[in-house]
Amino acid sequence: MDEEELVEYFKAQMRKNPDMASAVAAIRTLLEFLKRDKGETILGLRENLTWATDCLTGVDSSVAVSSGGELFLRFISLTSLEHQDLSRCKKVMEERGELFLEKISMSRTKVAKLCHTFIKDGTKILTHSYSRVVLRVLEKAAAEKKRFSVYVTESQPDSAGRQMAEALRKLNVPVTVVLDAAVGYVLEKVDLVIIGAEGVVESGGIINKIGTYQMAVCSKAHNKPFYVVAESFKFVRLYPLNQQDVPDKFKYKADTLKTVQNLSEEHPMIDYTPPSLITLLFTDLGVLTPSAVSDELIKLYL
């Protein structure tokens, strides 16, 4: 499978199912790549997969794709430790890969099941930009006949918040779109803040659309609970201490990285929110406090 086919397959996956997380599409693509790989050694396989992940991050530079790729690589390493023979190993990998995909496709449902009990009648929720996980949580809460209303930030520069508002209107949830600058103004009216995450870092903090950090700081100042909903495959092995520590390759869109010379003139698309501002994380592994996240990562990677 060469680069073009790989990228085509990835884009086709995203087109076919716009509701799928980009990390899931990346893992599906890598699994397909694995099936078609003609390598003879495990080391060769790993190198090819690393190359494939790099191609994919060249298309979609988000943290989620990178973490999905790393997770898949880890999965390959763990499986290859058990079986020495390559062909048997590949068979086991393919089976387990399908199973893994099946499990993570159920992760959003698990998250929604955990989170919707925190939404009560009459709650006013603030959210940021467009997140499919948050949408699923609010869908579940609406299905449980809870009465709540939502404020969504517009989330420039791509106005993703309007897309979220449209989706919520279809669920008959009263929704108001507010300016990104109006977060501080609106916070006194809301009861809780729920946002998604593109990546969950080792410290328990999150990487998400730009404007999230601001919202977190304001919620802390107003003493409102700040909840994050994320699936477990978004856990990534980064430990940023401040905004500058987040690698440039995640901050800007893939095309921007390729074409622009001076990155300091571009607007970053994501920011980092430290764990001290987060109240709870809802994942398919359960409801976690930010300190529990590093435990999960250690269990996997070490």
């Binding site: 499990k103 009990t117 925190f118 477990s232 709870l280 529990a292 435990d295």
Partner: protein, 355 residues
């Protein structure tokens, strides 16, 4: 015939326990401490394991879950009952896994690692029959009972590390654990204790009497004076009814005020709570979180005219968020509030969080 007799005896005992639970909750505060409640629940569960009819671990877990749900429904505010049930369910799972020969460690928790390496969507249904299972489970429950008996002593043994000479300690209301803790320290050190009376039940008075009998210099203050006196206090040591899954507390009313005053003065807040008080609930359950009792203590019925014009409430519990807490002292040592999730994963299985 011994069979039906044992069964009726068992059902009688369960019914007696349930009615006890229902009665015990109303009135002027808890009639008995959580430790006794935990012991009684565990003894009852041991009796169910010994006397009820079951052939596989799955059956036993179903029976215990069913009875457990009834017990929790009888008195939702008494969380130790639910906690003990979850502990016993975890014991059954562990003994079952041990009998099957599989290593218990890796099978238990959901984790990213498990997601990647497990071979199948395995649904462990606990259907296999093992003859030694009953004896193993009962032995493990006995170990649990021994642990429960030693909790107060284990906590009190740590007192000398935390309390130093000539310190001023503040506490609120009456906690048997804190009482034992302070008395143990008093054997070797001299210190002062300030007790907030904790209206309207004023359990603080009993605490002060008991402490002063052991030779500790005690002062009783009203709840309103907590902030005023806090600047002279070195440490705040309190007990709690429940420790929640996020590290927060459900404690007697007035504790949040105490915690905020301590935070303002940067005074360490230490909670003496045995492990059986750790509950996998989060503070989002508004309906079951609070308990209100008769407002007679707040505004007596003899007040007359005013009663028709005002609403009087008497809540029993308070929520204290984990940011205000410095340290938890339990029978297995001292922990930070951010570590509670780890203790939770060791005590309970995630599938038992919702009975």
């Amino acid at each position: 015939m011994p069979g039906p007799d044992k069964e009726t005896d068992l059902t009688e005992r369960i019914e007696a326990f349930l009615s006890d639970l229902k009665r015990g909750g109303s009135g002027t505060g808890p009639l008995r401490g959580s430790a006794e409640m935990a012991r009684e629940t565990t003894s009852l569960l041991r009796r169910i394991t010994a006397q009820a009819r079951w052939s596989s671990a799955g059956d036993l877990m179903e029976i215990i879950r069913k009875e457990g749900r009834r017990m929790i429904a009888a008195q939702p505010s008494e969380t130790t009952v639910g906690n003990m049930i979850r502990r016993v369910l975890k014991i059954i799972r562990e003994e079952y896994a041990r009998s099957r020969g599989s290593s218990e460690e890796t099978d238990q928790q959901e984790s990213l690692h498990k997601l990647l390496t497990s071979g199948g969507l395995s649904e462990e249904n606990f259907r296999q029959h093992f003859t030694a299972l009953k004896a193993n489970v009962i032995e493990a429950i006995n170990e649990l009972l021994t642990e429960l008996e030693g909790t107060t002593d284990n906590i009190a043994m740590q007192a000398l590390e935390h309390i130093h000479s000539n310190e001023v300690i503040m506490t609120i209301g009456r906690s048997r654990t804190v009482e034992a803790f302070l008395k143990d320290a008093a054997r070797k050190r001299k210190f002062h204790v300030i007790v907030a009376e904790c209206a309207p039940f004023c359990q603080g008075h009993k605490m002060a009497t008991s402490l002063s009998k052991s030779g500790i210099e005690t002062t009783v203050i009203t709840d309103a004076a907590i902030f005023a006196v806090m600047s002279r206090v070195n440490k705040v040591i309190i007990g709690t009814q429940t420790v929640l899954a996020n590290g927060g507390l459900r404690a007697v009313n007035g504790t949040h005020t105490l915690a905020l005053a301590a935070k303002h003065h940067s005074t360490p807040l230490i909670i003496c709570a045995p492990m059986f008080k750790l509950s996998p609930q989060f503070p989002n359950e508004e309906d079951t979180f609070h308990k209100f009792v008769s407002p007679h203590e707040v505004l007596p019925f003899t007040e007359g005219e005013i009663l028709s014009k005002v609403n009087v409430h008497c809540p029993v519990f308070d929520y204290v968020p984990p940011e205000l807490i410095t340290l938890f002292i339990s029978n297995i040592g001292g922990h930070a509030p951010s570590y509670i999730y780890r203790l939770m994963s060791e005590l309970y299985h995630p599938e038992d969080h919702e009975l």
